[in-house]
């Protein structure tokens, strides 16, 4: 039998644990945006060494599962003498992983701009810096917002993986809860509800941005 009281009671600790889910996803995407911008710039740079590096970065991070990246990162650092808290390791790994996808999102958005956009600026005598900051980036960033929200939704879900390095986010908290209450069904459905609520909010935000940018 489904126990409503157990179901409702499990929300308390799970919502409390959701702060880690949100922190890791949001800090992760923040870091991913910064690194992703650098990787994208490297990918588009005139220097072949930088382009190669960026291409390897992207294909490596997209080719290895996040779970494995987490374990590698978490267990390698102590070996080379770096002692970081699990939370930091998790954020950094999630951020680095996201950077691969984000750099590709941005590269795609930049490539989708018609060449005439920058040519018109070049023709009136604008320099590369103004062309990037005034013409290309504002359009590319706006265009990429829906895809970035989508990436954030993926990260919220993927953040359940950081439970393997011992962070008490929603998934790990629900496992603990299920073990003490012997009521896995109610607890995991509650966890599902919380994930769903977070991601529905993000999806609405994404839809709004998409709507607003479709000039």
């Amino acid at each position: 039998m489904f126990s409503l009281p157990v179901f409702l009671e499990s929300f308390g600790p799970l919502i409390w644990a959701a702060r880690y889910t949100l922190l890791i996803s949001f800090l992760g995407i923040g870091l991913g945006l910064v690194i992703g911008a650098l990787i994208c710039a490297a990918r588009l740079s005139p220097y072949i060494a930088l382009r190669r590096f960026a291409a390897v970065w992207v294909s490596f991070l997209r080719g290895v599962p996040l779970l494995v990246q987490l374990l590698v990162f978490y267990y390698t650092l102590p070996v080379i003498g770096i002692d970081v808290p699990a939370f930091v390791a998790a954020v950094v790994t999630v951020g680095i992983c996201a950077s691969a996808y984000i750099s590709e999102i941005w590269r795609g958005a930049i490539a989708a701009l018609p060449k005439g956009q920058s040519e018109a600026a070049t023709a009136i005598g604008m320099g590369p810096r103004d062309i990037w900051t005034r013409v290309i980036l504002p359009q590319a960033v706006t265009m990429s917002l829906p895809a970035l929200i989508n990436e954030l939704i993926l990260l919220v879900k993927a953040s359940s993986l950081v439970s393997v390095v011992g962070i008490l986010e929603i998934t790990r908290a629900s496992q603990a809860q299920a073990a003490t209450t012997f009521r896995p069904l109610e607890v995991y459905i509650a966890a599902a509800c919380i994930y769903l609520a977070i991601n529905l909010c993000l999806a609405v935000l994404g839809r709004y941005l998409e709507h607003r940018t479709a000039v």
Partner: protein
């Protein structure tokens, strides 16, 4: 406003092995209108784009008021700064308008004045609004390009170019992307510019415009400049069979 002259001497351009411009020679006199006509793929856009060095020519010379554009000396590229300096006085209008969709009409026109000419924002907007008024868009200044018709967008693009006070204007098929009923409003703006003594180079399929507004018409085919003469000599009594055949096709397509 002083008008510029352009001298094109033995210009060659290759795309890989493809010879896109073959020893092209053309003289463009200050204050005159030159129309470039010819079949599609003949190199008209390529030649036009060599004039402001949007396309790099491989050999020969393009001189604006005597000054070589793109190179300091043959084979030695000009610095980006110097090139931008030269481009400031050359306006260009594209077939696809190429307005910036995230800016209003006014911002599109003011942008170059602010970033390139370094004018304060208020003065730039004043000049931008004067340029838009000149092309008949005083009431559309706050519209984004997506809220304008093709003809209006192209007029904004012309305003964006003339606000920079160029001495030479390049047009690459400015009416080819427009619905037929919107062609006239753009051609009228161009006629006004021509009557004010602007040097203009216009790639076009509008033979009426070439016949009535151009001072000279140049015909290109397969990367070669086949002939350049007065509109009546090229359009009505061409002696080159390639021009005759092009005009025959043109008349056939436009008669019904």
């Amino acid at each position: 406003m002083q008008a510029s002259s352009v001298e094109i001497r033995k210009v060659n351009k290759f795309y890989g092995p493809f010879h896109a411009l073959k020893d092209v020679d053309l003289n463009i006199l200050p204050g005159k209108v030159t129309c470039l006509i010819g079949p599609s793929g003949s190199g008209k856009s390529t030649l036009l784009r060599c004039v402001n060095f949007l396309e790099e020519y491989d050999s020969g010379e393009v001189r604006i008021d005597g000054q070589l554009i793109g190179y300091d000396a043959p084979g030695k590229k000009m610095s980006g700064r110097k090139l931008r300096e030269m481009r400031r006085s050359i306006g260009m209008v594209f077939q696809q308008f190429n307005l910036w969709p995230h800016m209003t009409a006014l911002e599109n026109v003011a942008e170059g004045l602010i970033r390139v000419r370094g004018l304060p924002k208020a003065e730039a907007q004043e000049r931008a609004s004067a340029a838009l008024t000149k092309v008949g868009l005083a009431d559309k200044m706050q519209n984004h390009p997506s809220r304008l018709s093709g003809g209006q967008q192209q007029r904004v693009a012309i305003a964006r170019a003339i606000a920079m006070e160029p001495r030479l204007m390049l047009f690459d098929e400015p009416t080819s992307a427009l619905d037929p009923e919107l062609v006239g409003e753009v051609l009228n703006v161009m006629k006004t510019l021509a009557s004010e003594g602007m040097t203009m180079v216009v790639v076009t399929h509008e033979m009426g415009f070439a016949a009535h507004v151009a001072d000279q018409v140049a015909f290109m085919e397969k990367g070669e400049l086949v002939g350049c003469d007065t509109p009546s000599r090229i359009l009505h009594q061409p002696d080159d069979p390639r021009i005759q055949s092009f005009l025959r096709t043109y008349h056939e397509r436009n008669s019904f």
